[in-house]
Subunit: 339 residues, 2 copies
């Protein structure tokens, strides 16, 4: 076996208060361990940066345990197998899986999914075909259930999840309305993604602008942000509306959460507000890849990527996504596609 | 045909601001009209007083149109047919239906359901076997879905809806915990209805008391009141909890609604919060009567009634139920059971 390289890993140094900063993390170097039976070593090509990662930095109780001080930060990545202790994987195979903020990772083989190098761009397995795309699919399939003629509103509409959620609304025959930050994102949401309208959440009167582009009210809300957008959307919900509670990124850096909407309307309007975590239904990942890969190939499902160069910039990238500084699926290029 | 008597009707005089008062209504007298084809005239025996009626007094948009000024106040009642223009009904038949706050009503025959005089007490068709019981059944069947070993919390637990909701939780094998106002109601909820515990919502530290009797958290919340009880319960919800949003009576007299809970927890805990109105699934009424009548007969389903004498006292009864002054299903005795 070839000698394995030294690897770099981004480790949590202290729990951030408010906005995460680069100095909340540190870069460690060590020797990449050799794989034991059933294990695989990969070099990372693409690392995914996603808003949920803020939750892993907090000791607050959540659906997943937090990253401990001194531990490698968690995250999904695409990588190339460079050493394998499992017959199912060979050097040169490309895989996607949860493997942390590292240049090289040692993983259990059964936690990795092999992907076809000749198919969709490798980065899409972290975005439109990966966890974010599956999140949109699962939320719409199980909770949102948009129907022809309905109005679907999606917040963070230019992002990795929102862009897919809205396009799924369109495919179902619904009117899709996005909410995004700033004119460039709004233009992209309408012009490239094909939403019927997009409202800038920085508008002086968000509710009035939203009402103007949702003349028949709102039947499905795919919630990624919370806060003022949530308040504006909730006032426009129709009877029997469904709210897919996927995230509330506007408050992920807060230590104390602001009050929310009075829920009286939920009774009279028979609204369904339901939370979801994509990992609850692991079968949705393969289901979505099979469904959406042809749509990515024929460009009927659009997406945009925002690429940051170098593992050392991952902490700042995470801070940026929490403030909406990214434009499209945020990725860190950790290594070259071809070694 | 015998001459029909003069009737009395409670009519809305002005929209109440805050707590409804007797002077928001007035009593009118007129001649009871004769039934045309497909119509039936009944004399009212029991009139049901329910919290939802507050919504009908407000011009605020709701799922049902408001009662107009000068119109007879709406409500369900049990009555005896005294004149019929429909072959399906004969004088002496007892019926239940939505017929307003009147001593005598003219109704469409197809809006009335005939009930068996020799079966359950007539008043139960307005309570445990009627709209409130069906509300509890429908909410638990479609949204709450309690399972053996889970913990169900019910607010307004001694009331017409809550008392049934909690007993349905027990029948499903769940732990049932009530929230009610004052020691007498709490005692009744535990001792007569058979809940495992009941907490007084007037407690200094409601959340701590609730946590103490829900050591495994809360899986189903049947919401009738909103406000501080809602806030306390929401903090104790387990992953995948279901919240049946049936009512928020604590705010029905308010002109401005207070803020609600921050909904961040809904995502991570995958909570489902869903509103319901019993009339959305009319088939549930007959389903529930068939299911629950034997349980009422064998006393395995308990209930309590709070009876007010005389139609003229209906407005004050409504004001009382909104403040929790009733103890059990609130009814107005408008006429004798046997004429």
């Amino acid at each position: 076996m070839t000698k394995l390289p030294t690897r770099r890993s981004v480790v949590l140094k202290r729990r951030p208060v408010g906005r995460p900063e680069a100095r909340d993390f540190e870069m460690l170097e060590d020797a990449t361990p050799a794989p034991g039976p059933g294990e695989v070593v990969t070099r990372t090509i693409w690392l995914s940066i996603d808003p949920y990662m803020r939750g892993r930095l907090s000791s607050r109780k959540s659906y997943a345990p937090p990253v401990q001080i001194g531990e490698v930060m968690t995250g999904e990545s695409v990588g190339e197998v460079i050493a394998s202790g499992d017959p199912a994987f060979q050097p040169g195979d490309v895989v996607v899986g949860s493997r942390g903020w590292q240049t090289h990772s040692l993983s259990k083989a059964d936690k990795l999914v092999k992907i076809d190098r000749g198919g969709a761009p490798l980065s899409t397995y972290l975005g439109v075909l990966g966890m974010p795309g599956t999140t949109a699919y699962s939320g719409m399939k199980d909770i949102g259930q948009p129907k022809a003629g309905e109005t679907v509103v999606v917040s963070a509409a230019s992002g990795a999840v929102g862009s897919v959620a809205g396009q799924l609304g369109k495919r179902a025959g619904a009117r899709a309305v996005g909410v995004a930050g700033g004119p460039d994102k709004c233009f992209f949401v309408q012009d490239t993604l094909g939403f019927d309208a997009c409202v800038d959440h920085r508008s002086i009167d968000l509710k009035a602008e939203l009402a103007a582009v949702c003349p028949n009210g709102i039947d499905v809300y795919f919630e990624n942000v919370g806060g003022a957008v949530q308040a504006a959307v909730f006032e426009l919900l129709n009877p029997f509306a469904r709210v897919v509670m996927c995230g509330m990124v506007s408050q992920y850096n807060e230590e104390e959460f602001p009050p929310g909407p009075n829920l009286g309307f939920v009774v009279g309007k028979r609204v369904r507000i339901q939370g979801m975590i994509v990992s609850d239904k692991p079968e949705r990942f393969a289901e979505w890849r099979a469904l959406a890969a042809p749509w990515v190939a024929d460009h009927s499902l659009d997406y945009r990527e925002d690429i940051v160069e170098g593992l050392e910039n991952a902490p700042e990238a995470l801070a940026g996504i929490l403030g909406g500084q990214n434009f499209g699926k945020l990725l860190v290029r950790v290594g070259k596609e071809m070694a």
